[in-house]
Amino acid sequence: MVLIAVPLLVAPVAAALVSPRPFPYAELSWQAVGDSGEVRIVGALRGRPTAATDDVTVAFERPADLSEEAPPRIEWWPGSVRFELHWHSSRPTVQVVSPPSVVWQDPVGLVERPVGGVRPGLVVERYPLDLLRLGAVRLDRTRQLPGKSRTHHIGTTGEFFGIRAAAPDEPPRRINWRASARSGRWLANEFEVERTGDLILLVDARPTALGEVVDERFLGVARAAATGIAGGFLRQKARVGYASFGEFLDAVPLSTGRTQGVRIGHAIRATRRSTIAGPSERCAVSLRRFYPPDVTTVLLSSLGGDATCDLVVHLWHRGYPVIVLNPSWRSLTPRRATLPPREDALATRLGHLERRMRLVATRTYGEVIDWDDLSSLGEIAQRLQRPVRWRV
């Protein structure tokens, strides 16, 4: 009975022929609302042609750091698709939610076409609660500038700190004429009050033995911490640099001001877990290309593997005083529903012991902050107020 095959052969061609012309197009507008740990994402896809939106399907990819509170609510309206997602973040995080995949599917389900349009990602930010306390922290001067010396001369803005390259709109009173004449380029004086010191934030974005989910959660927490710390110190006119190390180093050089805040914000949001782990020594060597030694370096690392512990050693050898900010594994590890309670407790205990061992091994080469309470950055604020001590 060959005749029965005719409709089956013709159906895909027919579905393709009657699909909407021109190709479906949809623009996305969405935002994250909610306070505390609640992440409620509301938005709409406005499509063209209007009739095609009835057959548009939308699929969202939830970041590993966020949990689902309720199933997504999607409503098809004439000409638009409105949605509401109920997610939750139990820890501070900065996550970039990928735009949803939007496809048009003919009613029979034989033909599928991607829907065009501009669909930006969405940044979800949940910061530690006591971020504002960082404003009181004043960094020690950590960088030796050429020509730096203590003098009794008090400038208009305080004690003389050093000499730096002059900006084009530098007032003549701030130009160091002698130094400019000697070097052949415009140099300006810099005073103590203008800065509180320099700080490098370094995120270890390499894959670790803790697994992809924990790594993603760590990165969410690290992004939130880096955003908070950078913002706090930039407000105090400190120079802040940001770098992330996956396979290679991506760095934002030291600078200050609002523009630097924007630069660092972009770099933080672009930080992704790398698939290949670069050697630790490469990170330390690359860091010297962007930053001078002796600058206080806050390393945000999960210490989830030997390579991440080695990084502290290499940074120490290259002359960076390191403060390791290590979020607790317990708060990052997903619940093991498959394990019986006794074995789950044992696994937690073993993980805790392993982390303690890594923390102790790391303490030889740098300060370590056991960041257990992820809702607070108070501990790092206290640690940064003291000068970083060198251990040999």
């Binding site: 029965i4 005719v6 022929l17 389900g109």
Partner: protein, 175 residues
């Protein structure tokens, strides 16, 4: 002024298309050479199982359900004679299958109406094939199949010539 409301979502309880599917398959089963009791049971059980599978899974197992219906149709078609009634019964069953697929739970309701252009084109092609196979003077099933495919190719060519942008997606450099 009409108020804007969200579209209704089809649920698993929407049963019109399912009734049409079961009816069409049973109709086809009766036209085959398979013993009528066995054919009815086979057609009814297969279609019901597929409908239940899709309803229970909320539309997530539509592929498996469609495969089950196709399997039943294949078995029945193997025992169908080359007669007008069997031919039209098979075609109607496949068209009913397409309509049932259009009424998927979880998607915007009224899928059958939106699928009418597709199903209409399929029905047109099948009608041409059926007429060519049984009503023309030189009637034979291969002639019908060839006739239907010829109609589809002509339609496709006409559409593509009428809308060159379907092939050429990039804008012309001179515009």
């Amino acid at each position: 002024m009409a108020t804007m409301r969200p579209r209704r979502i089809a649920t698993a309880r929407v049963g019109l298309s399912a009734v049409i599917l079961v009816g069409a398959i049973e109709l086809f089963a009766l036209t085959t050479l398979v013993p009528w009791m066995l054919a009815l049971i086979l057609g009814g059980a297969g279609a019901s199982a597929a409908i239940a599978l899709r309803a229970i899974s909320g539309g997530r197992r539509t592929d498996g359900a469609a495969l089950l219906v196709l399997l039943v149709l294949g078995v029945l078609a193997a025992g169908a004679p080359d007669t007008e009634s069997a031919g039209i019964g098979g075609g109607v069953a496949v068209v009913a299958l397409l309509l049932w697929l259009a009424d998927e739970p979880g998607r915007v309701s009224d899928g059958m109406r939106r699928a009418l252009p597709t199903v209409g084109l399929v029905a047109l092609a099948f009608g041409v094939a059926w007429v060519s196979a049984f009503l023309l003077p030189s009637a034979s099933v291969p002639t019908g199949v060839i006739g239907a495919l010829l109609v589809v190719v002509i339609l496709l060519a006409a559409t593509l010539f009428g809308r060159p942008e379907l092939l050429e997606r990039e804008p012309p450099l001179t515009s």
